[in-house]
């Protein structure tokens, strides 16, 4: 029996023992999550408690988010993989095993066969499957989203074998490739590698076969092959996983390379920060030497190959090949100019070939399976697979190996599980040398050339996912900070250039930069890229250049507006909530005032920035709460609820506003009385302008009055706030329609400036046959009619609503209150609905029916052209779109028919202008919104400003308030003012009273869900009680206080569990 067969037999015995086998993932990632404790628990169970099982260790299966991972395999039976295993679960598993069963919780997946990539065969190891009833529903591991798209070639053994066992490696096909290689000629090996299309996985992407050919052709008495295991990109760790989980594949790959190129010495240059990898490699080298796979006369071929490890001492630049070689030679790790290239003159002046860990790991399967097999994966120019370290704002963190050509959207949303409810913003590829791509580019495929084209690189495979909470300027600054610190300092552009770039970026992040600084930064970035000596310096500017390419606006916001849109840059942000609020309300201060019992003060703080507190306290989507840091701990603060509490408290009394005595003697005309118009008018009146609002409808308030039903926002509440605005001096003329009652030209003559805030009140038509039948009423029209007092009786009728937004929900809940049965049809899944989750919940509670994944095909009428039915097309989930939702795709021939008395399309709105736009020739976008300068809010016509939904498209009340404020400031400037809306002193920010440690979000009380609620338009939600409000206010961590109370670690000391 040959040595390979002998080892294979032993290896199979230990891979599939005749008793229960417990395999604990104990690579660095597992250990960091407590895998050693779990391992010891199983060892104890065997040694102390008589559990009859084999306990073994493996590398990492790649699902870092869910470490420690433990596989339990029955003799001849299924293997179950458990996730997030702690000591308790380990004990439970051990106890259950004694009864020949297993716990049913935290099972990630099951396996019944092993794929032997090197042979191209599968090993069906489980004969008795699913004999544990409770685990019958467990999905196959390779079917769960995280693994479904993965093809494991490089990482084929990670997590499956004990890295300390040569036998297990051989049992899965190990050293078969080396045997095959040395029995043929070196040229044959090189041809196979060349034909496979394998390209350097370390970042360069140069053809591996060609590189080998160069080294082969260099004539020398001595040659070297080197494995570059100096992995150092922040966020990339696939090499470590390979070294720790499957060391022999690196050894085998290198021995094959040595044979092909004529090198008898191999060196693994591994960073010393990977102690487990170094230790694992040392053990593996010893085993391979003892077995004769390394050393003299490998497989009797006459080929000699020895391997040693050199530990890198923590300089990132040593990943650059000439610096790496200098480091091995004992010199300072600094690059030198090329030529000569290492293939000609490398280590000790001899021809040297350097490949990355992942590249080497791909070699053995290529040799056994052949170039044709390998190149069947991938795209035209990029073959095989690539391991990515999928990290950042992503649900499923981990190492994923996918075929080249996989769509990035699939990696992010399918494998990665998306960003957890936040909007994807960018993905940094290739670490500090790479660049970012944006959410618009998710359809791109993983391919060297494709990524390069958009300014990113494949790099070593770092894939850092960033969502809306990431500031791209800060990202560039972070990477520059890294490269600047890692620059060796040899060449001027890198040493001085990266330092100056970092200084400029710091200046931008602190809000101290000018646009000239931005120009300087860009010019310098390009020069450093052009002039630096080595790859580190040449690529260091990439994060700056690519963020500038795609996120220049964000740079400009920091510079011009002194505003960090993502609420990251500390110098520009009071607190994330305040910074996120479109109206800029000082949230921490008003919450603190409630905590102190000063409700009037709290209201004043809100009112200063938002003249509609009671309204917003009811209908605001609370963008602020999405960014509340308390939410990272337990639940975000009930910011909206607290606002409503303070507003209701104060409004119950006799609150008054005082118009300024000093008048400016100038007047502004405002078209539309929605939140944008009201806000703009309020601030202008406060500044002493005469503000007149022209409203086409009989009531003021815009969409707040006619788009939001009474049970969410009572008219009395809104009207009281509007009357305060009138008290400030704003004149509101209702029932004045532009083009009919008055023209814009007339307004222009009458006023010194105009503001257009007409909202987006025009519903989009369904666009299917029959959408004009009697009984098809648009959502906005439906809600408006009800708000304006039209008597509608829907008793016993069925209302079918098309759409997934808040309008659809409001229509459904209103219909139910009018006695109808409501049925919402939405073309995507429930989780993709844009409506607020709480509204969906309440609508369902009140009895709304939902049909998802269906879109209208046609509306069928009766003889009187009255709606009778609606025919829907059934949809299934297609590929991911740029919003991170799966696109609905029609299922041919699958239709659903619903009976309906009323059909209400609520599929989006757009502005309706009457004659405003035409009369003034206002520029409009493709989506029919007005085009304004985003800073001055001015349209293409001098003195005519615009804001709100008619500019942004359908958005929220608070965004319209923000736009109204911005416009008021711009109009003031236009009319000669300084644009400052109000004078306020820099507030004292001090923590009074402790932050409440325990306690989740206090939920406000609601009217009980009974028949009465379903017939009434009374407001469903109550305000907080005083006690509730104070309890909730105490939970605020006061992120606005910048001074540290805790000098030891620089943490502010407010939060009950600062783990960062």
């Amino acid at each position: 029996m040959s040595i390979l067969e002998e080892l294979k037999a032993k290896g199979n015995g230990s891979l599939y023992p005749d008793k229960v086998k417990i395999l604990v993932g104990r690579a660095s990632c597992g250990k960091a999550s407590g895998a050693d404790k779990v391992y010891n628990t199983f060892i104890d169970a065997v040694e102390q408690q008589g559990l009859d099982a084999v306990v073994s260790s493996s590398g990492c299966l790649g699902f870092c988010q869910q470490e420690p991972l433990v596989a339990v395999q029955f003799p001849g039976g299924t293997r179950y993989v458990y996730h997030d295993v702690d000591v308790d679960l380990a004990g439970e598993i051990a106890a259950a095993l004694k009864n020949n069963t297993l716990p049913a919780r935290q099972v990630l997946g099951k396996e019944e066969e092993d794929e032997l990539i090197v042979y191209g065969t599968t090993n069906q190891f489980a004969q008795k499957t699913d004999f544990i009833k409770e685990l019958k529903q467990v999905p196959y591991l390779n079917k769960i989203p995280f693994y479904a798209l993965q093809v494991k070639i490089a990482t084929r053994n990670c997590g499956y074998i004990n890295p300390a066992s040569l036998e297990e490696y051989v049992a899965r096909g190990g050293y078969e490739a080396l045997r095959k290689a040395v029995s043929g000629t070196p040229e044959e090996v090189i041809k196979e590698v060349k034909d496979s299309g394998l390209r350097g996985r370390g970042g360069g992407g140069f053809s591996t076969g060609q590189k080998w050919e160069f080294a082969r052709k260099s004539v020398s008495d001595e040659k070297y092959v080197i494995c570059n295991a100096d992995e150092g990109d922040p966020g990339a760790y696939m090499d470590r996983s390979l070294l720790e989980g499957d060391p022999h594949t690196i050894l085998e790959g290198m021995a094959i390379g040595g044979y092909a190129m004529g090198a008898e010495t191999g060196i693994i240059y591994c960073r010393a920060e990977y102690p487990l990898a170094v230790q694992t490699l040392q053990k593996a080298i010893k085993q391979a030497e003892e077995a004769g796979f390394l050393g003299e006369n490998v497989f009797g071929s006459g080929f000699n190959f020895k391997l040693k490890i050199v530990k890198g001492q923590g300089a990132f630049v040593c990943g650059e090949e000439t610096a790496l070689i200098a480091s091995i030679e004992g010199k300072m790790g600094e690059p030198r100019p090329r030529p000569p290239f290492p293939a000609v003159s490398g280590l000790w002046g001899k021809p040297t070939n350097i490949n990355n860990v992942e590249t080497w790991a791909n070699i053995p399967p290529i040799v056994t399976r052949g170039a044709g097999w390998f190149s069947s994966y991938g795209t035209e120019g990029s073959k095989g697979t690539k391991v990515f370290a999928l990290v950042g704002n992503i649900m499923n963190n981990g190492l994923v190996e996918v075929p080249m050509g996989t769509k990035i959207a699939d990696i992010v949303y399918e494998t990665g599980g998306g960003c957890g409810g936040y909007a994807l913003k960018a993905i940094q590829l290739g670490g500090p040398s790479g660049g970012c791509i944006t959410a618009d580019m998710l359809d791109l495929q993983v391919d060297y050339e494709v990524l390069k084209e958009v300014g990113a690189i494949m790099g070593s495979g770092g894939m850092v996912v960033m969502d809306e909470r990431t500031c791209m300027v800060d990202v560039a600054r972070y990477f520059l900070d890294f490269t600047q610190g890692e620059s060796c300092g040899k060449c001027t552009p890198c040493r001085e250039g990266t330092k100056q770039m970092l200084l400029l970026l710091n200046k931008i992040c602190e809000g101290k930069a000018t646009m000239a600084d931005l120009e300087l930064l860009e010019e310098l970035s390009l020069a450093v890229r052009d002039a630096a000596l080595c790859g580190l310096g040449q690529t260091a500017p990439n994060p700056v250049l690519s963020t500038l390419r795609y996120f220049r606006e964000e740079y400009e916001a920091h510079i011009i507006d002194k505003f960090c849109p993502a609420s990251v840059c500390a110098a520009l942000v009071v607190a994330p909530c305040q910074n996120t609020c479109p109206a800029g309300i000082d949230v921490p201060l008003y919450i603190d005032a409630i905590k102190q019992g000063n409700y009037q003060e709290s209201y004043d703080i809100v009112y200063r920035d938002n003249p509609l507190p009671a309204t917003c306290g009811r209908v605001c989507p609370a963008l602020c709460a999405r960014r509340c840091r308390r939410g990272l701990l337990d639940d975000a603060i009930g910011i909206r609820e607290l606002k409503r509490f303070a507003a209701d408290k104060v409004m119950a009394g006799d609150y008054k506003v005082t118009p300024p005595a000093k008048r400016k003697g100038k007047s502004v005309g405002i078209v539309g009385s929605g939140p944008a118009g009201l806000t703009c008018a309020y601030y202008l009146a406060q500044l002493g302008y005469d503000a007149t609002i022209y409203e086409a409808l009989p009531v003021a308030g815009g969409m707040m009055a006619v788009g939001i039903p009474e049970f969410r926002l009572p008219a009395a509440v809104l009207n009281k706030e509007i009357s305060l605005i009138q008290d400030m001096g704003v004149e509101i003329k209702t029932n004045v329609r532009i083009g009919k009652d008055i023209t814009m030209k007339q307004l222009q003559k009458e006023h010194d400036a105009l503001f257009v805030g007409v909202g987006a009140h025009k519903d989009q038509a369904l666009g299917v046959p029959g959408d004009d039948l009697n009984g098809v009423v648009s959502g906005i029209e439906f809600l408006r009619d009800i708000s304006l007092g039209k008597k509608v009786d829907l008793a016993g009728k069925t209302v079918v609503i098309i759409g997934g937004g808040n309008v659809a929900i409001d229509v459904a809940r209103t219909s139910i209150r009018l006695g109808a049965k409501a049925h919402i049809v939405y073309r995507r899944e429930e989780k993709d609905m844009p409506a607020f989750a709480s509204e969906i919940h309440e609508a369902r509670e009140e009895g709304t029916q939902f049909t998802f994944l269906a879109a209208p095909l046609k509306v069928v009428g009766n003889k009187k052209n009255k709606v009778k039915q609606i025919v829907l097309q059934s949809m299934k989930l297609g590929p991911y779109d740029r919003s991170g939702r799966r696109r609905p795709v029609a299922i041919e021939g699958a239709e659903i028919t619903l009976d309906a008395d009323l059909i209400v399309p609520a599929i989006g709105q757009e502005p309706g202008y009457d004659k405003i736009d035409e009369e003034l020739k206002l520029n409009k976008s493709r989506s029919n919104t007005l085009v304004v300068d985003k800073r001055s809010m001015v349209t293409n016509i001098e003195g005519v400003f615009a804001g709100g939904d008619c500019v942004s498209g359908p958005a929220t009340v608070v965004e319209a308030i923000g736009a109204g404020k911005k416009a008021a400031s711009a109009i003031d400037k236009y009319l000669g003012g300084d644009g400052v809306l109000y004078q306020a002193e820099e507030p004292q920010r001090k923590l009074v009273g402790a932050v409440a440690e325990a306690g989740r979000l206090v939920k406000p009380n609601c009217i009980p869900l009974d028949a009465k609620r379903l017939k009434s338009f009374d407001e469903v939600e109550f305000a907080y009680t005083e006690e509730q409000a104070i309890t909730e206010a105490k939970r605020c961590m006061r992120c606005d206080i910048k001074e540290s109370d805790d000098d030891d670690n620089g943490s502010c000391g407010h939060c009950p569990g600062c783990g960062c």
């Binding site: 620059s487 060796c488 300092g489 060449c491 001027t492 001085e496 330092k499 200084l503 310098l524 052009d530």
Partner: protein
């Protein structure tokens, strides 16, 4: 072989770099880190030239670029000029108000730097010529410490380097004139490297004349026994020549010999 620099063909025999050819032909390429006695280093990046053809197009350091048949080079293309000026401005920010730097900058048409100037005045441009010459001499008494913009030249751990020979090669090659050796009471004091080297005495006149380790190293490495100071050595050689005849009348040997 022929290469083209700025549109003119030049014939080149044997191995040399583009910088060497340019210098030979009187074509100005600025450089701070190149020294003819040393290997190409490619650090200051002022000698960047643009490869137009015959190589990978783009900017590259001419000091490290070997000539090859058909190479077409521009030494002052707009791209070269632009990047070179920026590099110069970076050096000016790192070494503000250093006369030698200002002089070179002016030559390149740069009068001021838009970048933040170093707060701690520093005159060393980190060309590394001293470090490399020291290594070439074979002792590496000084080297680079720290990385990136913290980079400095010093003895190990910024202490008196115990392998300094007192050969003063570093002093000789420093383009900024920053390295100074002084004799004091039989000790050669070299700054800023904190060198302290005991000096050898001239066996003839009794004056200290060089570092004692230098004398030992010469003896050891090249078998050259040096026990005279340069003055006495000259005198000795002259006398030998005179005695050999023919040249005696040029020297007033009798007078010096008492």
């Amino acid at each position: 072989m022929y290469i083209t620099i700025n549109g003119t063909d030049y014939e080149v025999r044997g191995e040399s770099t583009v910088l060497e050819v340019a210098q030979r032909e009187g074509i100005y390429i600025p450089t701070l880190c190149h020294h003819p006695a040393l290997e190409p280093y490619g650090a200051c990046r002022l000698c960047l030239v643009e490869i137009i053809a015959g190589g990978r197009p783009g900017l590259t350091a001419s000091c490290a670029l070997p000539v090859s048949e058909g190479l077409v080079i521009e030494t002052d293309s707009p791209r070269v000029h632009h990047v070179r000026q920026i590099t110069m401005k970076l050096i000016m920010a790192a070494c503000p108000d250093v006369p030698a730097v200002m002089e070179l900058a002016e030559k390149l048409g740069v009068t001021d730097t838009p970048y933040q100037k170093a707060s701690v005045p520093n005159s060393c441009v980190l060309c590394g010529i001293c470090v490399r010459i020291c290594s070439k001499v074979g002792t590496s008494a000084i080297g680079f410490a720290y990385r990136g913009s913290d980079r400095q030249v010093m003895g190990p751990w910024d202490k008196t380097p115990d392998t300094c020979l007192g050969c003063r090669a570093c002093e000789n090659v420093c383009p900024m004139g920053l390295i100074k050796f002084e004799e004091k009471d039989g000790v050669l004091i070299g700054e800023p490297f904190k060198s302290r080297v005991t000096m050898a005495k001239c066996s003839e006149c009794g004056r200290f004349f060089t570092g004692a380790p230098m004398v030992g190293t010469l003896q050891q490495r090249v078998g050259l026994a040096v026990d005279l100071c340069p003055e006495c050595q000259k005198t000795k050689e002259a006398r030998l020549l005179a005695h050999a005849g023919g040249l005696g009348r040029y020297f007033n040997l009798e007078k010096q010999d008492h």
